[in-house]
């Protein structure tokens, strides 16, 4: 495990008298897909915010690899390899799809002052920034790895057609995919996906789950929160079920699915829905 493991240790978050997240422990290892399910109001979203750094825990800590990242801002966590997507896609609507991805790919470099002087060449490492800038201005610069990453991701996700489309004009399904692509461009160790399948239809969802497996196979750890039970159980390697701010069951998807608490609270008493989403059992 050379890549960082994401670990929540005894996380607690309270709002007034309500404990939204109550001593939660969670491990999302690299190369695996971890699911997080639970009924509405179980504390999934809060836990998610604690992991991404949008909110700070009252107790406990968040570890990435061997580093405690509990106090870090979201953008710092992201540069350390913890990249998230949002429930409502968070694309930059006025930029083209390619530029959206570029923003993600360029995330490891922050020397914005160079750009102010007009030297905003994509990072290539060895040559000095000044030389890079001059070369690029003259049109002599080879394509940098940043641009390459973007092109590869566009290619592999089948987004080349919308490369130059303004992101704000895309339909929901495509927005989700582009946001996912942008997150990939940031070269994450761990991907946090908040309801990636909401608003997608069956075909898009199928494609998404294939994409998730492919990504995990490349060694990226994925934590996924979603209502789509079918999606979650079909792709995850392990799953956590939350109820009332606590983790009530975790581990192998089939075991969690069979857990009595999970069945009663979340799955079992939904005859119609169960029939719709679990054709295998119907």
């Amino acid at each position: 495990m050379s890549r960082g493991v994401l670990q929540a240790v005894g996380l607690v978050r309270r709002y007034g008298g309500l404990t939204a997240v109550d001593h939660v422990d969670l491990v999302a290892p690299p190369g695996m897909i971890t699911g997080l399910i639970g009924p509405n109001g179980a504390g999934k979203s809060t836990l998610f915010s604690l992991l991404t750094g949008v909110e700070q825990p009252d107790e406990g800590k968040v570890m990435l690899g061997t580093t405690d990242i509990s106090k870090m801002r979201p953008d710092i966590r992201s540069r350390r390899g913890l990249v998230q997507t949002f429930q409502v896609p968070s694309l930059f609507p006025t930029l083209t799809v390619a530029d959206n991805l570029l923003v993600g790919a360029e995330n490891r470099r922050r020397d914005y002052a160079g750009g102010l002087l007009g030297l905003s060449a994509p990072g290539r490492g060895r040559t000095s920034r000044l030389a890079e800038g001059v070369l690029e201005k003259l049109g002599l610069a080879p394509k940098g790895p940043v641009t390459q990453v973007v092109e590869e991701v566009l290619e592999s996700l089948g987004l080349s057609d919308v490369r130059d489309t303004i992101a704000g004009t895309l339909p929901t399904g495509a927005l989700r995919l582009v946001e996912f692509a942008r997150a990939l461009c940031a070269r994450p160790d761990i991907l946090l996906l908040d309801e990636p399948a909401s608003g997608l239809d069956a075909e898009e969802t199928a494609k998404l789950s294939e994409l998730l497996r492919r990504t995990a196979a490349e060694g990226v750890g994925i934590l996924i929160v979603d209502h789509d039970v079918d999606l979650v159980f079909s792709v995850v390697d392990q799953v956590y079920a939350m109820v009332g701010g606590r983790v009530v069951a975790s581990g192998d998807p089939q075991e969690v699915r069979g857990d009595p608490t999970v069945r009663s609270v979340y799955l079992a008493q939904a005859p119609l829905a169960a029939a719709a989403s679990q054709p295998g059992e119907a």
Binding site: L91, T94, L95, Y112, D161, R182, A206
Partner: protein, 753 residues
């Protein structure tokens, strides 16, 4: 005077501030709009009241009734109907409403200045007799203070009861929470909102009429006084009426109490300023101290994307194509800017202002247009740049040696950088409304404590500028200005392209999303504010050299509001728009009487409701429509399918232009199959973004028509439209049930499979 006497003297002003605060809260709590125009409306009503009493000799009571019971609520109803209802209807962001209220402010200022001039009047009538009542011993309190206090209590209690205890109060809260849902629930939202506006503007009018006799009546002076009472609503966190009232009285009494102290030296000077400016200091301190305003509507007031509609020039081939098209425009623009060199000397001197103002406007493009931060304190930066550079040239700055004028200008501008940086700090955590008020307060404090103080701003002199020993002639100075403007444009360009430009726009478009992929949101905001400060400082220096003197009024806090409005009107993210705005204002100021340019900007700002994205965007839209119209008229009508393409509404709130001519149904024999084949692909990825020109291979076009169509497509593709191909099922229109997609979405009928 004793402390008690001073306190009693302060009560009257405090009560007026409280009334103003109540008015602001009423408007905010019923409409979700922080009415920046409160000051402008107050001033307008005060002027009308004075006009009726002094010029028309109406009895005071009649004038008061007309001003407060007819005019003031009338203004509110009019504003609601014409300006804010349309905004609410399309669920405009809080930032848009803020700009609209700025537009109203600028408009009322323009009206007042246009009718009555900018001069001051000291004969504003008071509605109360100048007598007083004995409280105890020798302590007396004025009738005015008593009645004002009574009004505050009555209004506060009455409004509080309505809000908390009645069904109407509940409806008010519902309308503010979600106007559309309120209407769906049968609540007459328009009436509720109108009532809120009428009440708010009535309080504004009352504030103006009561304040006017206590000070010299000038359009800008009175407006600013009312704006300072925003401290009160900030203390109340935009919610609590009792807190607002108590804060108003507290600040006012404290300010009055300060009068019994005298200090010597620098401290004494600070004290003197505090004695009349405690409200503005309180505004800044409260904004920095109050953890979070209780903003309505989820606090989305940071979203400025609605009036900055464009993204960065796209990277890669599309961007390159567009750059080439832009050269012609740039050449024309440069030609126009050089034109004043051929003017008569006096006209040339008038034109001096254009590049100077242009630079100041560019600084706002950086902060607001590109990085999405509302900044209402630019006049402070500009003034500081001017002051620092003059002092440096005079050899008067911190004992530094005198520096030749031109170099002093650049050094002075650079010295503004730290101020911009520090102002940017609050911007890291603050957004929208809070940030706008904070930057405004910074500008106002700088103006009061620096520009208006003799220690800093007197004894300044401007030497003729020299470069390498040559004295600059008027023409040379203008060329030098253009050089500075060019520098500014270069900076703006660099901020708008490449990695930096993308990162800034990412912060503007979705700061959460930007942080999620590791963009350093904090440093980018600081960078934007710092660079903006320097550019504004340079502009301010040039402005002073254009008018040959440092005049504190040029950098008054209200200027910031006026300038900000102008920039938004001409397109907050358009560098060209900024320069056009500068030329527009200067030209009108030279040709027309006082207040005309203000009036024009105000009117344009209100028209923003109909043209999101500003003038620049409206012009772009017009061109596109025109081109489409032309193209349409060159296609054989039988071949045309003028059905607009359904495109998802973008998150920008500004609809993408669609090419209404990409329909494919008109093509004989293709329509139905194509439609069926497309059915399953719609809204699915990879997107079926077929080249929009395909359907036209079969259409009969005149050569010119074909060229035009191609142009439209090129333009549309390079600006923002997507060519989403249209497939329409003709069978459905004929009423025949067509095979519908099955529910699982896994297998679709049609040509592709």
């Amino acid at each position: 005077m004793t402390s008690i006497d001073l306190a009693l003297a302060g009560i009257s002003l405090g009560a007026i501030a409280a009334l103003s605060g109540i008015g602001l809260l009423v408007t905010y709590r019923t409409n979700g709009v922080l009415n920046l125009a409160q000051g402008g409306i107050a001033t307008l009503v005060a002027y009308v009241f004075r006009e009726m009493v002094v010029e028309w000799s109406l009895p005071k009571w009649l004038a008061a009734v007309i001003a407060l019971c007819v005019l003031s609520p009338g203004i509110g109803l009019l504003l609601e109907r014409l300006v804010f209802r349309p905004l609410a209807r399309r669920r405009a962001s809080a930032a848009e409403s803020l700009v609209a209220s700025l537009g109203v402010l600028v408009l009322t200022l323009g009206i007042t200045a246009g009718i009555w001039g900018l001069g001051s009047r000291s004969d504003a009538p008071s509605i109360f007799p100048a007598s007083s009542v004995r409280l105890f011993g020798d302590t007396r309190i004025g009738i005015d203070a008593l009645v004002e206090l009574l009004m505050v209590v009555v209004f506060a209690v009455a409004l509080g009861l309505v809000a908390a205890k009645t069904a109407f109060g509940r409806q008010i809260r519902a309308v503010v929470d979600d106007r559309q849902l309120a209407e769906l629930s049968g609540v007459p939202a328009d009436k509720v909102a109108a009532a809120g506006w009428a009440a708010g503007t009535t309080m504004a009018g009352l504030t103006g009429v009561l304040l006017a006799p206590r000070f010299q009546l000038t359009p800008y002076g009175l407006t600013l006084l009312v704006l300072e009472t925003f401290a009160v609503v900030v203390a109340a966190r935009l919610a609590s009426m009792p807190v607002a009232v108590l804060t108003a009285l507290g600040i006012s009494i404290l300010q009055s109490e300060l009068k019994q102290f005298t200090l010597h030296g620098d401290a004494g000077q600070v004290l003197t300023v505090l004695q009349s400016n405690l409200f503005i200091v309180a505004l800044l301190v409260l904004l920095l101290a109050v953890p979070r305003l209780r903003e309505l509507g989820g606090g989305d007031s940071g979203a400025t994307a609605s009036f900055s509609s464009r993204g960065a020039p796209p990277s890669g081939r599309v961007g390159a194509a567009r750059t080439r098209q832009d050269y012609l425009g740039r050449l024309a623009g440069a030609g126009l800017l050089l034109a004043p060199l051929t003017f008569a000397p006096t006209d040339l001197r008038s034109a001096f202002m254009v590049p100077a103002l242009g630079l100041i406007f560019l600084s706002m493009v950086i902060v607001t247009g590109y990085s999405g931060q509302l900044s209402l304190g630019v006049a402070g930066f500009a003034g500081l740049g001017a002051l620092l550079s003059i002092k440096m040239a005079n050899g008067d700055l911190f004992g530094l040696p005198a520096v030749p004028g031109i170099w002093a200008m650049f050094i002075g501008a650079l010295l503004v950088a730290p101020v911009g940086f520090v102002t940017g700090y609050p911007a890291i955590r603050r957004r929208g409304l809070t940030l706008a008020l904070t930057t405004f307060a910074v500008g106002a404090v700088v103006s009061r404590f620096v520009f208006e103080q003799p220690t800093f701003a007197s004894g300044l002199y401007l030497d003729p500028l020299t470069l390498f020993g040559w004295e600059l002639s008027d023409k040379a100075f203008y060329v030098f200005e253009l050089f500075c403007l060019g520098l500014g444009l270069l900076v703006v360009r660099n901020l708008h392209q490449g990695r930096l430009g993308r990162a800034l726009l990412a912060v503007r478009d979705h700061s959460g999303g930007a942080a999620a992929v590791g963009v350093d949101v904090r440093n980018l905001k600081l960078l934007a504010f710092t660079v903006s400060g320097v550019v504004a400082g340079l502009g301010g220096t040039l402005l002073v050299h254009s008018s040959y003197s440092f005049n504190a009024d040029d950098f008054a806090p209200l200027q910031s509001l006026l300038w900000f409005t102008a920039v938004v009107v001409f397109g907050a993210d358009s560098a060209v728009g900024a320069i056009v705005a500068a030329a527009f204002i200067v030209t009108i100021d030279v040709l027309a009487p006082d207040g005309t340019s203000t009036l024009a900007i105000g009117i344009l700002a209100l028209a923003l409701g109909w043209m999101p994205g500003g003038l620049a965007s409206a012009v772009r839209g017009m061109l596109r429509l025109l081109a489409q119209y032309l193209a349409d008229s060159f296609v054989d009508p039988n071949q045309r399918a003028p059905r607009p393409v359904p495109v998802r509404i973008s998150a920008v709130g500004h609809l993408p232009a669609t090419t209404g001519i990409t329909g494919s149904t008109g093509i004989p024999g293709i329509g139905s199959t194509l439609g069926a084949a497309r059915a399953g692909h719609y809204a699915r990825w990879p997107l079926s973004a077929a080249p929009a020109t395909v359907p036209f291979s079969d259409a009969r076009l005149t050569p010119f028509g074909a060229e035009l169509v191609a142009m439209v497509h090129r333009y549309a593709a390079s600006s923002r439209a997507v060519g989403v191909a249209v497939g329409v099922e003709t069978s459905a229109r004929a009423g025949v049930p067509s095979p519908a997609p099955p529910p699982d979405g896994g297998s679709f009928p049609g040509g592709g499979r």
